[in-house]
């Protein structure tokens, strides 16, 4: 058993908001050609048919206003360029047209093609270059936040493609319920930022099992004391609000929240784990829930259908959706001192990979699970049985001592 896997006891997942891979990590193509980022030939037509190139002109705040549309019909336009024919092919040529629909401003619509220069995102780009970056991590569905986050918690969105309330019925339990209900029992916790931010997605769990939840200060304390649960999910601060100890700036990076605030948040989480006695035993996945309507050039692949179908009415496109195509690509990075510097992963993942990985690692064989989760790839190999060396990302024989530090 490779020592990185043998020692692994804790998996931590941080899910940020609404930014595409090219938008956040596209600049890294110039640093590491293996990273499938932005090249000079990438463009989208505007409403006059003129090509609009991808440019490193993204700003931290106040640029993407209004919030780019990322609901199912808009994402359909972004992926298929407006083609609604039965045998259509995805071409990723509809982003500028989609953003134009929101304000009817030709110049403003071009900003959807902007991406960040490497220097502007010191935390995310450093982690991507130092650890493992995923070239092919996609949102689970071509739609909004709530459905995509559901895949991270349940391995499915139960047939939903919209933002309406998800009424969770069996048969698929959340990853948290699976762990705490197992024999022997495992531990899991969802850390929201504070009660004013709370959990975005799973109020049903909050209602019935509030003991599953903690706050970000508790996460920091748990890291320091070596008390992390087996599995931890971190939610960022979703809104600007005042507290007794001062102003709390939203750090989820959802437009139009400040992107630097999210960088600071990620640095704090990384530092907390790196300085924890559990650093040798922990893997941190940083991932975004969906692309937020922002440009990416990689065509989302088809996938095994889920057992649910969204009706033509529900999708808003006049066409049903069988959950047989992934959403747009998002940034995803795996951090561990056992991962070689500069690792680039080309296998296909989506958010169903999260419960798939955590379940396989801690529980082994488990059912029932959604078809999407059963067929999702895992980003950490199970620590039982022979390990496929070609797939194992925690592959170093000795722990790194050259991991970066962030000054926050």
């Amino acid at each position: 058993m490779p020592p990185g896997l043998d020692k692994l006891q804790h998996i931590v997942v941080l899910m940020m908001e609404n930014r595409s891979f090219d938008h956040m990590l596209g600049s890294l193509k110039a640093v590491n050609p293996n990273i499938d980022g932005v090249t000079p030939n990438l463009s989208n037509p505007d409403t006059n048919g003129s090509p609009v190139p991808a440019q490193a002109l993204a700003e931290f705040q106040a640029q993407l206003q209004p919030d780019p549309d990322h609901h199912f019909p808009a994402v359909d336009l972004q992926i298929f360029g407006g083609d609604t024919s039965p045998n259509r092919k995805p071409n990723m040529q509809g982003f500028v047209k989609s953003y134009f629909n929101q304000q009817r401003d030709l110049n403003h619509s071009q900003k959807i093609m902007y991406y960040f220069a490497q220097k502007d995102l010191p935390v995310l780009t450093t982690l991507a270059l130092e650890f493992a970056v995923f070239n092919r991590w996609f949102a689970s569905i071509p739609g909004p936040t709530i459905c995509n986050r559901a895949f991270a918690h349940y391995g499915t969105s139960f047939g939903r493609v919209d933002m309406n309330l998800i009424y969770i019925n069996e048969p698929f339990k959340s990853i948290y319920d699976r762990l705490i209900g197992a024999t022997p029992k495992h531990t899991s916790k969802l850390y929201y930022y504070d009660t004013a931010s709370s959990t975005m997605e799973i109020t049903n769990l909050l209602e019935h099992q509030p003991e599953l939840f903690g706050t970000f200060p508790q996460f920091l304390d748990d890291c320091a004391k070596g008390n992390l649960p087996d599995y931890a999910f971190i939610e960022p601060n979703f809104n600007d609000h005042d507290t007794d100890s001062g102003e709390e700036v939203a750090n989820d990076q959802h437009p139009d929240h400040n992107v630097q605030a999210g960088e600071l948040f990620m640095a704090k989480i990384y530092n907390a784990i790196k300085t924890s006695p559990l650093w040798p035993n922990t893997a941190l996945l940083i991932v975004y829930d969906e692309h937020g309507g922002i440009y990416d050039h990689v065509v989302p692949p088809a996938c095994k259908p889920d057992q649910f179908t969204a009706s033509a009415n529900d999708t808003g496109t006049g066409m049903p959706f069988a959950f047989d195509r992934l959403g747009v690509r998002v940034p995803a990075i795996l951090v561990s001192p056992w991962i070689p510097k500069g690792t680039v992963v080309d296998r296909v993942f989506d958010h169903a990979s999260i419960p798939a990985t955590v379940t396989n690692f801690f529980l082994g064989d488990y059912s029932p699970r959604s078809p999407r989760e059963i067929n999702a790839d895992v980003f950490i190999e199970p620590n039982a049985g022979p390990v496929d060396a070609a797939r194992n990302l925690l592959s170093l024989s000795t722990m790194r001592t050259d991991c970066p530090d962030f000054d926050v």
Partner: protein
């Protein structure tokens, strides 16, 4: 290794008066559904359709989240208080049984004839 500097966002990044986004509106809706299942004493007096800013949304989110935690904490505390009361009932019943037994023993003792004490010289 030299630590990498992480710039802080400017003061202007903070704007609790920012119009509430569709995402936050959805979150408010979910928590409103949860609030409806809380006992009356835990419910807010907020009309969620009047929430227009992030700051207002955050206040409502805080209130309902803390109310859910408090309702569970109160229920857990009540569960602990109930158990000693049941023990007291059992104890009371046991004490009552003991009293009845002592009474029976006392009554039986009174009915038995007194013994004489000839050696002491006391009259019978």
């Amino acid at each position: 290794m030299v630590a990498i500097q992480v710039p802080r966002p400017p003061k202007s990044a903070f704007n609790p008066n920012r119009p509430v986004s569709a995402l936050l509106k959805a979150q408010v809706e979910y928590l409103h559904e949860a609030e409806r299942r809380l006992p009356l004493r835990y419910r807010s007096e907020t009309y969620i359709n009047a929430i227009k800013t992030e700051g207002e949304a955050s206040e409502y989110i805080r209130e309902v989240t803390e109310a859910i935690h408090n309702a569970h904490a109160e229920a857990a505390a009540a569960r602990v208080r109930v158990v000693p009361k049941r023990r007291a009932v059992i104890e009371i019943a046991a004490v009552a049984d003991e009293r009845a037994e002592r009474k029976r023993a006392s009554t039986a003792k009174k009915r038995r004839p007194r013994k004489t004490t000839g050696e002491s010289g006391r009259k019978k």
